[in-house]
C-alpha cells in the first residue's frame, strides 16, 4: 500500500497579535499549543480514526492538513507533493483529491443554495462533467448513492432532517471523486439510530470508491467501529497510534487505558475494572517539557515530568508516547 498523506513534525501554535497595550505593559503574549509535533502517515484505502477529548486538537489537526489553517512548523505531503506552502490557487485544484465533511450539517450547507446548485458548483469547477445533461444525471446518481431521492435535487437544505443533511454533505464531498476524505465528527450531531445509518453509508462508500478516510470523533465506540487504525490525541500530541485491535485490546498509554475504561457500556451487571482519571485536562497555553499527561497519570515517574517521551514502537504498527513503553 502506498502512502497518500504524510505528516512530519507538524505544529500549530496560536498567538494573538501583539498590541500597543502589550508593549506598554511589557506583557508576553500567551501562546496556545493546539497541535504539537504530530507525525503520521495515511496509507491508501485505509481509515484512520482520530480520537480524543474536546480541546485536544483533533479538529485543528485535520483543518491544518486541509491547509484551512496555516501550519506553524512541519511538513505535509499529499500524494507525493509537499503542500505545506502551496499557493491558494494550486490548493483549489488539490481539493479535487481531498475533501472534507464537517461536524454540523446545519451550518456547513449554504441555506440559500439548492442541493443541485451546491453539487453542480463542485462538479463544474473540477470538470467532472462537461454537459448539463451529464451533470444532471451524475447528480441523480450521487443522490441515490447516499440514500436520497433524485427529486430532492431542487430542494433547499431546510427541507431536510439532520441525517439527510449529512448525506448531502457527503454527496458534495464525494462528487469530485476524491482520494482522501476527512470527516470531522460527522455523526456527533446526530441521534443514534441515524448515526448508524451514516456510519454504514460511509463504510459502503469507502469500499465502493476505494476512499481513504480520516475519521475524527470523540466517541471511542464509533471510532472502533469504522477505523482500521486509530490515533489517540491528548493536548495536541498523538499519544498512541496503532491498528484498531492493538489500541483497543492492548492499550499501552495510560491515557488510552483511562479513556477506554471511562466509556459507559451496555452490559448491565457486568462492571469492569476501572482506571479512574482524576482532574481536568491541563491548560494548553503552557507548553511544558515532559509528558502532557503527567498531572493526571496514575503511573507517573520522576522522569515523566522533565523528559518528553518519544513515540516508542511496541510493534511494527503500534506506537506509544510513554516512557513505560520502553521497558
Amino acid at each position: 500500500m502506498t502512502s497518500i498523506l504524510k505528516v512530519e513534525g507538524l505544529h500549530k501554535i496560536y498567538q494573538r497579535k501583539e498590541t500597543w497595550l502589550d508593549r506598554v505593559f511589557r506583557r508576553n503574549n500567551p501562546k496556545l499549543f493546539a497541535v504539537s509535533d504530530v507525525s503520521l502517515e495515511v496509507k491508501e484505502g485505509e481509515t484512520l480514526g482520530l480520537v480524543g477529548e474536546s480541546g485536544c486538537g483533533k479538529t485543528t489537526l485535520c483543518r491544518t492538513l486541509m491547509r484551512l489553517y496555516e501550519p506553524t512548523d512541519g511538513t505535509i505531503s499529499f500524494l507525493g507533493h509537499d503542500i505545506t506552502h502551496e499557493s491558494p490557487g494550486k490548493l483549489r485544484h488539490m481539493y479535487k483529491d481531498m475533501q472534507m465533511v464537517f461536524q454540523d450539517p446545519y451550518s456547513s450547507l449554504n441555506p440559500k443554495m439548492t442541493v443541485k446548485e451546491m453539487l453542480t458548483e463542485a462538479i463544474r469547477f473540477h470538470g467532472i462533467c462537461t454537459s448539463e445533461k451529464e451533470t444532471d444525471e451524475y447528480i441523480d446518481y450521487l443522490l441515490v448513492k447516499v440514500g436520497l431521492l433524485p427529486g430532492d435535487a431542487n430542494k433547499y437544505p431546510k427541507a431536510f432532517s439532520g441525517g439527510q443533511r449529512q448525506r448531502i454533505a457527503i454527496a458534495r464531498a464525494i462528487a469530485v471523486k476524491p482520494r482522501l476524505l476527512i470527516a470531522d465528527e460527522p455523526v456527533s450531531a446526530l441521534d443514534v439510530s441515524v448515526q448508524a445509518q451514516i456510519l454504514n453509508l460511509l463504510e459502503d462508500l469507502q469500499n465502493e470508491l476505494q476512499l481513504t478516510m480520516i475519521f475524527i470523533s470523540h466517541d471511542l465506540s464509533v471510532v472502533k467501529y469504522i477505523s482500521d487504525r486509530v490515533a489517540v490525541m491528548y493536548l495536541g500530541r498523538i499519544v498512541e497510534i496503532g491498528r484498531t485491535e492493538e489500541v483497543f485490546e492492548q492499550p499501552a498509554h495510560p491515557y488510552t487505558q483511562a479513556l477506554l475504561s471511562a466509556v459507559p457500556r451496555i452490559q448491565p451487571g457486568k462492571k469492569q475494572e476501572r482506571t479512574p482519571l482524576e482532574g481536568d485536562p491541563p491548560n494548553p497555553f503552557e507548553s511544558k517539557e515532559g509528558c502532557h499527561f503527567y498531572a493526571r497519570c496514575s503511573q507517573r515517574m520522576e522522569k515523566c515530568r522533565s523528559v518528553t517521551p518519544d513515540a516508542n514502537p511496541l510493534s511494527a504498527t503500534h506506537q506509544s508516547r510513554c516512557h513505560l513503553a520502553v521497558e
Binding site: 477529548e53 474536546s54 432532517s161 441525517g163 439527510q164 441521534d191 443514534v192 439510530s193 441515524v194 448515526q195 448508524a196 445509518q197 456510519l199 454504514n200 470523540h218 466517541d219 471511542l220 465506540s221 464509533v222 472502533k224 467501529y225 483497543f248 483511562a258 479513556l259 477506554l260 475504561s261 471511562a262 466509556v263 459507559p264 457500556r265 451496555i266 452490559q267 448491565p268 451487571g269 462492571k271 476501572r274 479512574p276 482519571l277 482524576e278 481536568d280 485536562p281
Partner: protein
C-alpha cells in the same frame, strides 16, 4: 412501597405560530425512593419536556396545554398554587440541567448562589450558609473548596461547574433529583467522574433520581429501571436487566442495535427513516412507519396501549411476543 413521584397520562401540546406540536402523549411512569429511573430517547422524543413539566419549568412564552397528573408525595404538582412551589422546587426536588455553562449565574460567586438557595429554604445565618456551601462543595469532590467557593463560574472548568450544579441541587437534601442530560456537555473521562459522584450521593442521601439521557451506556451503568420514549410516547418500561437482555419493543431493540459498542464487532443495523412530524394527535404506534413488524393493528390506539407483558415489564408493542425472536 408508595412511589415518590407518579406521572400519569401526562400530555403536553405546544401551540406554535403555524402548527401545534404534540410533544408528550399520555406518558405514565413512577419513581420510587432511592431508585434511579432512566428516561431515554432520541432528540424530540419528549424526554426533556416530561422532565421539565414535573417542576413546572416548561418554556412560558409559547401557549401550551398540559394535561394529566404529576403526584409527588400526595400533591399534584400540575395544579400546585404558586406560593407552594417554593416548598417543592429546589427543596424537595432538585434539578441538574444539561448545560453547566448557561445554568449558573455568571455575575455571582459560586458560594453566593449556594447560600441563596440555602437561605431561601432554611433558616440560616449568612455565615452558617457560607460554611455549609464549603461543605457541599467538598461533598461533591471539588478540591480546595474554601478557595473555589468565592470564585465565579467562568473560573471553573466544565466538570467543576457541573459539580457546583450538583451541589446546588442537593443543598437542601431533596427526596428526588431530576437530572436532565447531566453529562452530555462533558468529556468521557469527566462524565465518568460525575456519574460516579451521582451514584455515591444517592447512596449517602437515599434520594430517587430521574435521569434523562440519550446514551444507552449511561442507562446500563446507572439505572435500576428504564422508561423508553419515542415521539412523546412511552414505548417500554422495564428493569435495566430485562431491557437489555430481552427488549419487548421493536424501537428499543433497534436503538440497542444501532449503538456501536466497544465489546462487539459486526455491522451496525440502524433504523431506517427518521422521526415522524409530531403535528397531529398520536394514533397508534408512532414507530410503525420505521418498524419491520408493523401491521394494520399498529394504527389502533387501544391495542398499542402500554401493557404489562411480564412482571414489571411494560411494552406498548402489539407484537411484543415476536420482538425477541426477530
Amino acid at each position: 412501597m408508595d412511589p415518590l413521584l407518579e406521572v400519569k397520562d401526562l400530555e403536553i401540546v405546544l401551540e406554535l405560530k403555524e402548527r401545534s406540536v404534540y410533544a408528550v402523549n399520555s406518558v405514565s411512569f413512577d419513581v420510587r425512593q432511592g431508585e434511579t429511573v432512566g428516561l431515554v430517547g432520541e432528540s424530540g422524543s419528549g424526554k426533556s419536556m416530561t422532565c421539565r413539566s414535573i417542576l413546572n419549568l416548561l418554556p412560558g412564552t409559547k401557549s401550551k396545554t398540559v394535561k394529566g397528573s404529576v403526584q409527588f408525595e400526595g400533591r399534584d404538582l400540575l395544579t400546585l398554587p404558586k406560593q407552594e412551589w417554593q416548598q417543592v422546587r429546589g427543596k424537595q426536588i432538585g434539578m441538574i440541567m444539561q448545560d453547566p455553562m448557561s445554568s449558573l449565574d455568571p455575575v455571582y460567586r459560586v458560594g453566593d448562589q449556594i447560600v441563596d438557595t440555602l437561605r431561601t429554604h432554611q433558616k440560616m445565618s449568612k455565615k452558617e450558609a457560607w460554611e455549609k456551601a464549603i461543605k457541599l462543595l467538598q461533598q461533591v469532590g471539588i478540591p480546595s473548596p474554601e478557595k473555589r467557593v468565592s470564585q465565579y463560574p467562568h473560573e471553573l472548568s466544565g466538570g467543576m461547574r457541573q459539580r457546583v450544579m450538583i451541589a446546588l441541587a442537593i443543598s437542601c437534601n431533596p427526596k428526588l433529583l431530576l437530572a436532565d442530560e447531566p453529562t452530555t456537555a462533558l468529556d468521557v473521562t469527566v462524565q465518568d467522574q460525575v456519574l460516579r459522584l451521582l451514584k455515591q450521593l444517592q447512596q449517602d442521601l437515599g434520594m430517587g433520581i430521574l435521569l434523562v439521557t440519550h446514551n444507552l451506556g449511561i442507562v446500563a451503568e446507572m439505572c435500576d429501571r428504564v422508561v423508553v420514549l419515542y415521539a412523546g410516547k412511552v414505548m417500554e418500561i422495564a428493569s435495566v436487566e430485562q431491557l437489555f437482555a430481552a427488549p419487548k419493543n421493536m424501537y428499543t431493540k433497534g436503538l440497542i442495535r444501532s449503538v456501536p459498542q466497544l465489546d462487539s464487532t459486526g455491522r451496525l443495523e440502524g433504523i431506517p427513516g427518521s422521526l415522524p412530524r409530531m403535528n397531529q394527535p398520536l394514533a397508534g404506534c408512532p414507530f410503525r412507519e420505521r418498524c419491520s413488524l408493523a401491521t394494520e393493528e399498529c394504527a389502533d390506539a387501544e391495542k398499542t396501549r402500554l401493557q404489562e407483558v411480564s412482571p414489571g415489564h411494560w411494552s406498548a408493542c402489539v407484537h411484543h411476543e415476536r420482538v425477541c425472536g426477530f
